[in-house]
């Protein structure tokens, strides 16, 4: 059964006001195309979950979609802060933003517990820090073997998780390579899953290398084909991280007015990702292509009858 649909339909059908939304991807494979469509559809009161809110959530927060962030590292990696988010956190400008804060491993553990239907996930972190005071959902748990105490985090089960990947078949069987982050856990933990891919492939391509499959179609609700949909994030083997944009954003986001002007031009002002890519220009796009191929090589699974 084909689940292929437009980004507009996928977001309209699967993202609702008030939802807990996870657009995951650790620097790699961040689906800006989905974030922008959520902005265009003026979704409201979302709780946005992500290890690293990154520019994607700075934009979504600036656009007024969110009332809360669940996260572990809030910044523009290698550049600085996320100014739209900081305005709301530091100055309640234009309104406060609720924060629920963990560490990276805490967030990974939360998705893992959500995906595994566990009531908690244990980890060796948080000892002697102020994090459990800042977030009372981080709780000590005593081992049933001996005296030891570790910490626990609660499950995180997003209403919808969005995952970007190199390829999937029409049913949503999804393969990715390069940094995998915690997309698998975030997808299995979610009520609904939107998969966005650079390339739609035949089922036979997936079945030729079943060990490469990260997300099974079984848990996927929508497949969106959106080339360059991760820009300014990147797709291993397909395009590079647009570090220039990450730096540019620092200046854009410093003022509310320039931020809104950017959203007007690049999000509200385009109908979707295809138009965004066209606006970006062929030169910028070409400059982000890898300088050469680095093939994985093929392995043999063998025919067994």
């Amino acid at each position: 059964m084909s689940k292929v649909m437009s980004m507009r339909d996928a977001v309209a059908a699967n993202v609702h006001d008030g939802d807990v939304v996870a657009i995951e991807g650790f620097t790699h494979l961040i689906c800006f195309a989905a974030g922008h469509e959520i902005i265009r559809q003026r979704k409201r009161d979302l709780t946005l979950a992500r290890l690293t809110p990154d520019l994607i959530y700075d934009q979504m927060v600036a656009a007024g979609t969110a009332r809360k962030l669940v996260f572990s590292w809030l910044g523009n990696p290698g550049v600085g802060g996320l100014h739209a988010i900081r305005r709301r956190v530091e100055d309640a400008d234009p309104s406060p933003l609720e924060l629920e804060e963990y560490s990276h491993f805490g967030m990974v553990g939360r998705y893992t517990a959500g995906a595994s239907n566990l009531p908690f996930f244990p980890l060796r972190s948080y000892f002697e820090t102020d994090l459990p005071k800042a977030n009372p959902l981080i709780r000590p748990i005593r081992s049933p073997y001996g005296e030891e105490t570790v910490y626990a985090v609660p499950p995180l089960k997003p209403d919808v998780t969005v995952v970007h990947a190199q390829r999937a078949d029409a049913e949503g069987n999804t393969q990715m390579w390069g940094l995998l982050g915690c997309q698998k856990e975030a997808a299995f933990a979610a009520e609904r899953v939107i998969v966005v891919v650079e390339e739609l492939v035949e089922e036979a391509v997936i079945r030729a290398d079943p060990n490469r499959t990260v997300i099974p179609g079984l848990i996927v609700d929508a497949v969106v084909v959106e080339p360059f949909g991760a820009h300014p994030s990147y797709v291993q083997g397909s395009y590079d991280r647009d570090n220039r944009f990450y730096r540019d954003w620092d200046a854009i986001a410093r003022e509310a007015a320039t931020t809104q002007a950017w959203l007007d031009e690049w999000v509200y002002g385009v109908s979707g990702r295809a138009e965004y890519v066209e606006k970006l220009g062929t030169e910028r796009v070409a400059s982000l292509r890898p300088s050469g191929a680095a093939p994985s090589g093929s392995v043999d699974y063998g025919v067994y009858r």
């Binding site: 650790f26 620097t27 790699h28 290890l51 690293t52 996260f71 572990s72 590292w73 809030l74 910044g75 990696p77 290698g78 550049v79 802060g81 988010i85 900081r86 956190v89 530091e90 804060e101 963990y102 560490s103 990276h104 491993f105 990974v108 893992t112 980890l123 060796r124 972190s125 948080y126 000892f127 002697e128 820090t129 102020d130 994090l131 005071k133 800042a134 030891e148 105490t149 570790v150 390579w177 390069g178 940094l179 995998l180 982050g181 915690c182 698998k184 856990e185 990147y234 291993q236 083997g237 590079d240 991280r241 570090n243 990450y246 890898p290 680095a294």
Partner: protein, 278 residues
């Protein structure tokens, strides 16, 4: 954030090793070089975003050629062909030994005890090496909202030892940090050792802090001690940029200035745009 390259008078080598005069390198370059050298003999290093990223990559090209770089983003044995701006970058994946999920990276590599050195930056540090990277001011009404832990909290607890690299200032080297994101030697070495043992931490805590002015290790009481001062820096500068009266080793060493090769690697190969060293 620009910083003049001419950092002061004198400098040069402390022990006859050839090094550039202090006027020939910036304080940031000295800091990166000093941090890289501390990695000599280490095997597996967990690379944080920012300054650790360049220091570790310099170490791999100089004193620690067999150093295995672990990025929290999931790459192990990375051989980046360029210096990544972020710790997630396609260049740390292509040609790596292994790329794994973050669950696996944090569970098996870090928490499993395979990381020799966790390399952290920070916004605030106290004399016992406790670190704040969460907020300046009150948590609920922060003056400045910083990035937060990321992996720093679990790195501080599970890496066998922790290296810190950060610039000195009265705002960053403080008597009392506003929020403890990553535990160091807590209130002192003795209590810290007991707690680490009782709570089953793998890490022995912070072992070195490299700044733009000098190199600190931790003495038996668990407190930071200035062991080496960078060429061009003075003890007055050191004291003017620390929020407590710092312990100073006797005799106090002078850090070897960067060698021409170290400078060449930073300027030509690792950071030609000067993103880290300006």
């Amino acid at each position: 954030m620009s910083e003049p390259r001419a950092a002061g008078p004198g400098g040069g080598s402390a022990a006859g090793v050839p090094g550039a005069p202090a006027s020939a390198f910036s304080k940031s370059e000295m800091m990166i070089v000093a941090a890289a050298r501390e990695l000599a003999g280490q095997r597996v290093c967990f690379v944080g975003v920012g300054l650790p990223n360049i220091a570790v990559n310099l170490a791999r090209l100089t004193v620690a050629p067999t150093l295995e770089l672990v990025y929290e983003s999931g790459a192990f044995g990375a051989v980046p062909a360029r210096l990544p701006l972020s710790i997630g970058d396609p260049t740390i994946v292509t040609g790596a030994t292994a790329v794994v999920s973050m669950f696996e990276l944090f569970s098996f590599y870090l928490q499993g005890g395979l990381v020799d050195v966790g390399f952290l930056g920070a916004a605030q540090i106290d004399r016992f090496g406790n670190i704040n990277s969460t907020v300046i001011g009150d948590y609920d009404h922060p003056k400045t909202r910083l990035p937060g832990s990321g992996g720093a909290c679990e790195i501080a607890i599970n890496a066998r030892q922790v290296f810190v690299i950060m610039r000195q200032s009265k705002r960053s080297f403080v008597d009392r940090i506003d929020f403890r994101t990553s535990p160091g030697n807590l209130g002192g070495a003795e209590a810290a050792a007991r707690i680490r043992r009782e709570e089953g931490w793998l890490g022995r805590g912070p072992s070195v802090v490299v700044t733009d002015l000098g190199i600190y290790h931790f003495d038996d009481s668990g407190e930071m001690r200035l062991d080496s001062i960078h060429p061009g820096a003075t003890l007055d500068q050191i004291r003017d940029t620390i929020g407590w009266d710092p312990k100073v080793a006797e005799p106090l060493a002078t850090t070897h200035a960067p060698t021409p090769e170290e400078l060449r690697l930073i300027r030509e190969e690792l950071d030609p745009e000067g993103a880290y060293t300006k």
